[in-house]
């Protein structure tokens, strides 16, 4: 009876072939497919962030770096240029309400679906396609002493008044801000228009039947519906303000007069490539990173709250 085997314990298992389970295979494929993207982002974005932290504590000219320690930070914060740049960015924040309100108005206009609104829509969005370098060039022509702005002023009868906004410390930033608003109109209008398109028209109709006027409907129905789009536009506009003005500044003012139109991002470029002070530029970069990081967290919250 030595050959008796208990068969009650468990079903007879097939000989175990040592292969990956289906789930493992799927996960393995997932890792392989995601790897190139991960590698690219880590190498060109992740690692540089770490390096920026390191180099922000060094004296660095691009080739050799000497560890200095936290004193680089105290030094940087004593640098008036940093504060000027931050102040400029802060002042430019004042343009954000305009960069939101104007597109909102334009989107509402388009949404009325007046004859030819599709053509108007295409026209309004067209500047979105062209480079801010080009827009900066045009803006420079607009604000120049011999530019369109003065022509308009003269045409209005104020022939003795002439402006040269880009030439004056006090006014250059305003010119830059106006240009910035113009460049953001297309994108933001597009966002709001999409938001309006997702608004259920029967809601407005119901309100109209309830006797609500146009303004009332806009206030109580349209605007609340758009709030998420307004939030997104706000975040995108602020981020653009901190990271996309470079082209405009580069062609319009070169950061000047003086440092009047130097923003954080331009300061980084200026410090690194004109002054050769890579360490300080890296440090400024980190400051910019923190600022946009805060805005970015808000943005992720917005995206995250929808998923």
């Amino acid at each position: 009876m030595s050959t008796t085997v208990t068969t009650t314990a468990a079903p007879v298992f097939a000989p175990k072939v040592r292969r990956m389970t289906l789930k493992r295979r799927r996960q393995f494929a997932g890792v392989v497919f995601a790897l190139p993207a991960i590698a690219l982002v880590v190498c060109f974005i992740g690692i540089p962030i770490g390096q920026a932290v390191y180099y922000s504590f060094t004296q660095w000219n691009g080739a050799t770096s000497t560890w200095i320690g936290p004193s680089t930070w105290t030094q940087a914060f004593h640098n008036t240029n940093l504060w000027t740049a931050l102040r400029n960015n802060g002042l430019l924040l004042l343009t954000v309400p305009f960069a939101l309100a104007l597109p909102l108005g334009i989107a509402v206009l388009l949404h009325q679906r007046v004859a030819g609104w599709r053509i108007f829509r295409s026209i309004y969005f067209l500047p979105t396609a062209i480079s801010w370098v080009v827009l900066g060039l045009v803006a420079e022509r607009f604000f120049a002493y011999q530019g369109t702005l003065n022509s308009i002023i003269h045409a209005l009868g104020f022939s003795h008044v002439s402006t040269n906004m880009l030439g004056y410390q006090s006014e250059a930033l305003i010119a830059l801000g106006i240009t910035f608003i113009f460049t953001m109109i297309g994108t933001n209008t597009m966002l709001f228009l999409t938001g309006l398109a997702t608004l259920d028209p029967s809601l407005e109709e119901a309100a109209r039947i309830d006797g609500a006027g146009r303004w009332r409907i806009f206030r109580s129905i349209t605007l609340p519906h758009l709030s998420r789009f307004v939030q997104l536009a706000f975040v995108m506009t602020v981020i653009a303000l901190f990271s996309a003005l470079f082209s405009l500044i580069f062609v319009m003012t070169g950061g000047g007069p003086g440092y009047a139109t130097t923003t954080m991002e331009f300061l980084i470029y200026e410090t690194g490539f004109n002054q050769g002070d890579f360490g300080t530029a890296a440090l400024y970069g980190l400051i910019l990173f923190v600022i946009t990081g805060i805005v970015g967290v808000v943005q992720l919250r917005l995206i995250g709250s929808n998923e």
Binding site: V31, A52, Q112, V138, G272
Partner: protein, 290 residues
Amino acid sequence: MTTVLTPPTESGSHKEPPPLKPPPRRIGRWVLFGAMIVVAVIMLYPFFVMGVTSLKSESQFLSGGGFSWLSWSSLTSVIPVGQEVLSSTIVCSSSIFIILCVGLPAGFAFSKLRFRLSTVVFLVIVSAMMVPLQAILMPEFVNVTKLGLTGGYTGAILVYAALGTPFSVFLFTTYFRGVPDELIEAGIVDGLGYFGALWRLVLPIAVPAIATVTVLQFIQIWDDLLVGLLFIQNTSDRPITVGLAVLAAGRTTSIPELMAGSIISALPAMLVYLGFQRYLVKGLTMGIDR
């Protein structure tokens, strides 16, 4: 709420914009129309300036009157437009190719082949969208230079690709989340491996998402200044946007010629934009209106 970028399903049909509202009252309509015209004039102003200015000679520009083809005929001798457009094209297409090659499989992985920590990795990659290049400009520049990649286009292409990847990963992932799992499983049962599924199912299904990424990245990269300015060392390899910006900043080139160059530089992006407006809107609103 509707998904803005809807993957095709066999039942998927595209919704038209909501029906027109009842026409507003007469006078109101003329006011509206007037307002739209005013906005249109403002938005067309840059094109007007470019067009008109480019059709003057330097002296006509300064004096204000007259028209001339001079700046167009002398354009290529002042700005190497041909070479620069070629450079822009090479840089743009190569970066977009990499962005697609890297983003598509990753989007597939993050939506359908989820692995341990895949959600975390996805979130980290997506948050990289928020990192402005300027924040990491110095180390990036030094790294790429040390690798000897700033000689040709390689450095710029890789930097553009890396900067565009987070967005494309995000867009593809969101897009594939709308594709039913069964579609992939049907392929697997039909005999595909995961690579086969990627190549023969995922890729063709993703065409609208690919178009969106391509259009957005094309405009982004074509119009960019900073990367091209710093990561392409040879003046002769400069993309057109960089060429224009440098000349403009130098303040020695005649304005009409700059404007002629601007028109050339703006044309491709505008054509792409007019042709693919739809995808641009989709990409912009991706993720908000799900």
